[in-house]
């Protein structure tokens, strides 16, 4: 079975997106980060959810979103990236190794994929290429771009820029 969880922070305000870039863009874009956990598992879904809440979520400072829909709204586009196969993902390693240490786990964790999302708000035009260039590195990452719900017409193009 497949399940996706996305965790966003309650207390981290949107930052100036130019901080992510080598050369500033005008247009006043801002950004927020989330983390997504794509999980393949066998067993009771509630058990998995309990594990996620206990291990990955801080109930005070974070919010948990279950399912494929983006956790945040009103964004222009979102850049999702993560470690490509073969590149060490330290967070994933830590989670998997903790899971392996649990005696008699209530579900079977078959596959875990940790992804970062950068939601970009505001700005003019499609600047996702600039963000890909300045944030991702094909030596370790793969990525995809999700067009925002602001521009429904573009949603069809989701995955256009995938390099996965």
């Amino acid at each position: 079975m497949q399940e996706t969880f996305e965790i966003s922070d309650r207390y981290i305000d949107a930052g100036d997106a130019n901080e992510l870039l080598y050369e500033p863009l005008d247009g006043g874009q801002t950004f927020r980060r989330t983390r997504r956990y794509e999980i393949e598992f066998e067993g009771e879904k509630q058990e998995l959810e309990a594990f996620i809440e206990k291990t990955l979520l801080d109930p005070i400072s974070q919010e948990l979103h279950e399912g494929d829909d983006p956790a945040l709204e009103g964004f222009t586009f979102a850049l999702e990236y993560g470690m490509k196969p073969g590149a060490l993902d330290l967070e994933k390693e830590a989670i998997v190794s903790y899971y392996k240490g649990i005696e008699g786990p209530a579900f079977e964790l078959k596959e875990l994929n940790v992804r970062q999302r950068i939601y970009v708000f505001g700005g003019k035009g499609d600047a996702s290429d600039r963000f890909i260039r300045d944030i991702c590195n094909y030596a370790i990452h793969n990525w995809s771009v999700i067009q925002g719900d602001k521009d429904q017409g573009d949603k069809e193009n989701q995955g256009d820029k995938e390099n996965v």
Partner: protein, 816 residues
């Protein structure tokens, strides 16, 4: 690496000559191949061996009357690679400088090894180990020694800066863990050379080259995330910005360690077990050693993705905890790190004399299906290899369980002199170790012509705004945003911090660490002046040694108990002029080291730092990093670089020369051909010894070296502590008769220190400096907060320090 296009299709040479007795290894029939075919094979297998090298390999096997296995060829390639063997530093060089010719047999032997050994002889018992171990050791006190090692990780950092930097620091930390029977890492240094952070994207003339800002951010975070997690304070560093580093950024990582003297000597003996601890072995680290011995081009950015590894600092921390506990329980006979070449280098080093068997079936793998050579040369991170007594195994396993690190038995040392590797019940490698380490000597030509000329110094119209320009220059602006990302106080021993002074944010020259269990302290500093080397590499060499030594001395170190490291980065050594610049640099550092009695105890070099752009090849200037460690006898000797009093006297030690070359000011004014100042070595060392006498008598309040930006910047930086303004009159400054005002204020002639002394001690200090260029030049002015510099009645600079400080403090903050 322009020949890479000649690589043939997959059905080429390798398949034609390979015979596979089993799935996991092959025998390669090379005896009938000609030179060109051998070279083709080397390229196909990414061995980075030249045709000449391959012919030498063929000759060895002809002598043995057999064909090599792929494992053996990989092992030989690893051991003979520039990265492991430093073959350019061992080459025969026909050198020509300004028309005069000379022959040099091994730069290393002539200028590093022999020079250092002559110094060792004058200081018996001071250097306890040099050149043969993972790091060089000097004596701290009767019980303990300290060591230092620095390395570069340039090519990986160009491709993936974060990963490149964190595996860089991980690697050098393992060097320290593998020095002696395991030294404790106690402090790190990081020195970077990047393109300017504001480089326009349009000025990057090649595809897939990362912007300097991306490189800088990635590298800094890589150092941060590895060093901080390991719990090693990053206390020392430098950053150079220059367009020539856009394509080939340089990333130097260094770490110092401490060790009880009784654990320095190590030896492998027959009957010992060879074990490994730490991370598992995977395909993630293949061909790093040969990769870093070749030049970069856009294609390497695309194709060498396999070379990109990400460090796992917690894995290394666990291994480090294990190693130090095992050492203290006296369970280690020999230890070395798994760096370039992986198990093949580590086991090779360990078994080269003794010989022994390594069984690859015992290696724990990250993934299935690795063939023999992959396991043996994989450079997967965070692994240490040890030789131990069989009866220690139980205790070692206990420690491994305690610190949650994995321990495997790799094999046995047997006294046969033969390195044997078995896998799936078959022998896949059997080499006479003494043959492994004999690579053919290279023959090279080099040439250097002086590039400077007499350039008239510009008249100063407004020295105050010149000073502002300098304090805003990337070469000089505060590194605070970066320094604060590094934990520089973990371990609780950082007495003199990289940011200090009354307001906690003023710059320091050297940093000083307490050493657990000793009342002596260690000073650490770095010097790097690539701008000088562009026109006068010899002067760069002497000045770098001088600056490194001077900074340690300024912080309170005994000038007669220092040791230094030489780390070179060079473009294309086959280009006569680039090699010529290297030769001149080496001569410069050797002359200064010998004169100062500051021996080299370790060093490394990195070649092929050039890049094929759309506009042709771009090489870095020959870049030497001199880093050093020194000993302070007492914590009362520690002296910082910041102004401390409102009423003290400021004095200058050292002579100010007329040459402006190499200075930031000259670069800003476009005077790039200007003559570079030389270093008066004997006079300098005499002054440092006198200064140390003043330190011992407690007469020095603070001292700041005059370096980038010259005297005016030095004064401003000292006053950034915020304690007081400065009133300086340069009328009696010791200087060349023809020194211009520009040279006085902004020239960077070496060997100078600005010191702060209590008024009542001035006479005593002046008496100590009898016969040395020395003069009081002004006073701390508690009544105002300006930097005021006059020459007689002429006011040269009168600027509010808070404005100057804000320029200096914010210059980098907008980029990092």
């Amino acid at each position: 690496m322009s020949e890479t296009e000649t690589i043939a299709s997959p059905e080429s040479i390798l398949d034609q000559i390979a015979e596979a007795p089993a799935d996991h290894y092959r025998i390669l029939k090379i005896s009938d191949l000609d030179g060109a075919q051998l070279h083709e094979l080397s390229q196909f297998m990414h061995l980075s061996l030249s045709e000449e090298d391959m012919l030498a390999v063929q000759a060895i096997y002809q002598e043995w009357d057999r064909e090599p296995t792929d494992v053996e060829l990989e092992v030989i390639a690893q051991t003979w690679s520039e990265h492991c063997k430093h073959r350019i530093f061992g080459a025969d060089i026909e050198h020509e400088v300004d028309g005069e010719k000379e022959s040099i047999k091994s730069l290393f032997k002539t200028y590093i090894f022999d020079v250092s050994h002559r110094i060792f002889d004058t200081k018996p018992g001071f250097v306890l180990s040099a050149f043969h171990d993972n790091a060089g050791f000097i004596k701290l006190d009767d019980e303990q020694a300290i060591c230092l090692k620095a390395e570069t990780h340039n090519h990986p950092s160009a491709i993936e800066p974060y990963a490149g930097a964190n595996t860089g620091i991980g690697g050098v930390v393992r060097d320290i863990l593998g020095a002696g029977k395991g030294a404790k890492p106690i402090g790190s240094l990081d020195v970077f050379c990047f393109g300017a952070p504001d480089t326009s994207m349009d000025n990057i003339k090649a595809e897939d080259v990362l912007h300097p800002l991306g490189i800088m951010r990635g590298v800094v975070r890589g150092v941060r995330d590895y060093g901080n997690r390991m719990g090693i304070p990053t206390i020392s560093g430098a950053i150079q910005f220059d367009d020539s580093y856009i394509y080939n950024p340089l990333v130097y990582c260094g770490t110092a360690g401490s060790i009880p003297i009784k654990y320095i000597d190590k030896e492998v003996g027959a009957g010992m077990k060879v074990i490994a601890v730490g991370g598992r072995t995977g395909r993630d680290g293949l061909h790093g050693a040969t990769f870093s011995s070749a030049a970069l081009d856009t294609e390497s950015h695309e194709s060498d993705q396999q070379a990109v590894q990400i460090g796992n600092p917690i894995e290394e921390k666990k291994a480090a905890d294990f190693v130090l506990a095992a050492r203290d329980a006296d369970l280690i006979e020999f230890i070395t790190d798994c760096g370039a070449g992986g198990y093949s280098s580590a086991a090779g080093e360990m078994l080269e004399e003794c010989g022994g068997t390594i069984n690859l079936d015992n290696v724990k793998l990250k993934e299935d299906g690795l063939v023999s050579w992959e396991i043996f040369i994989s450079e997967s991170q965070e692994r240490m290899v040890l030789a131990v007594q069989e009866e220690s195994m139980e205790a070692l396993q206990k420690l491994a369980d305690l610190y949650e690190t994995e321990l495997i038995v790799l094999g046995d040392a047997d006294g046969s002199g033969i390195l044997k590797v078995t896998h799936h019940g078959e022998t896949v490698c059997q080499l006479d170790c003494s043959k492994l380490h004999t690579a053919p000597t290279r023959e090279l030509r080099s040439k250097w012509q002086v590039k400077t000329e007499a350039v008239e110094a510009p008249a100063l119209n407004h020295a105050g705004s010149d000073l502002r320009d300098l304090l805003s220059d990337f070469a000089i602006v505060s590194r605070e945003p970066i320094i604060r990302e590094y934990d520089h106080e973990v371990q609780g021993n950082t007495v003199l911090k990289p940011l200090a002074g009354a307001s906690g944010d003023a710059p320091q020259d050297a940093s000083v660490l307490r050493i657990n269990g000793s009342d002596k302290l260690m000073s650490m500093s770095v010097a790097i002046l690539p701008e000088w080397g562009k026109t006068d590499p010899y002067a760069m060499g002497t000045a770098c040694v001088d600056e490194c030594v001077r900074q340690m001395v300024a912080s309170g170190a005994d000038p007669d108990r220092l040791a230094i490291l030489d780390n070179f980065c060079v473009g294309n050594p086959e280009a006569e002029e680039e090699l010529g610049a290297l030769v001149e640099t080496v001569k410069g550092i050797a002359a200064a080291a010998e004169s100062y009695g500051a021996p080299f105890v370790s060093g490394k070099d990195s070649f092929y730092n050039y890049f094929e752009t759309e506009d042709g090849p771009v090489s870095i200037p020959v870049t030497i990093l001199i880093s050093g460690m020194g000993i302070l006898d007492d914590s009362s000797h520690v002296v910082g670089a910041s102004l401390r009093r409102k009423d003290s006297v400021m004095a200058m030690i050292g002579n100010t020369k007329s040459q402006l070359g190499g200075s930031v000011f000259a670069r800003q004014k476009g005077l790039t051909k200007s003559e570079v100042p030389s270093t008066d070595l004997e006079q300098a060392m005499d002054a440092y010894r006198k200064y140390y006498e003043a330190i011992k008598q407690g007469l020095i309040l603070s001292a700041h070296d005059v370096s980038e930006g010259g005297l005016a910047v030095t004064l401003a930086e000292a006053a950034f502590s915020g304690k007081a303004g400065l009133e300086i009159d340069l009328s009696s400054l010791p200087m060349d008769d023809d020194a211009s005002q520009a040279a006085i204020l902004f020239g960077e002639s070496p060997s100078r220190l600005v010191i702060e002394i209590a008024p009542e001690n001035l006479e005593k200090v002046a008496a100590l400096f009898e016969g040395t260029p020395f003069a009081p030049i002004g006073r701390a002015a508690g009544e105002h907060a300006n930097l005021k510099v006059t020459q007689g009645s002429e006011v040269l600079i009168d600027e509010p320090l808070d404005e100057l400080k804000s320029l200096w403090k914010n210059g980098l903050a907008q980029y990092y």
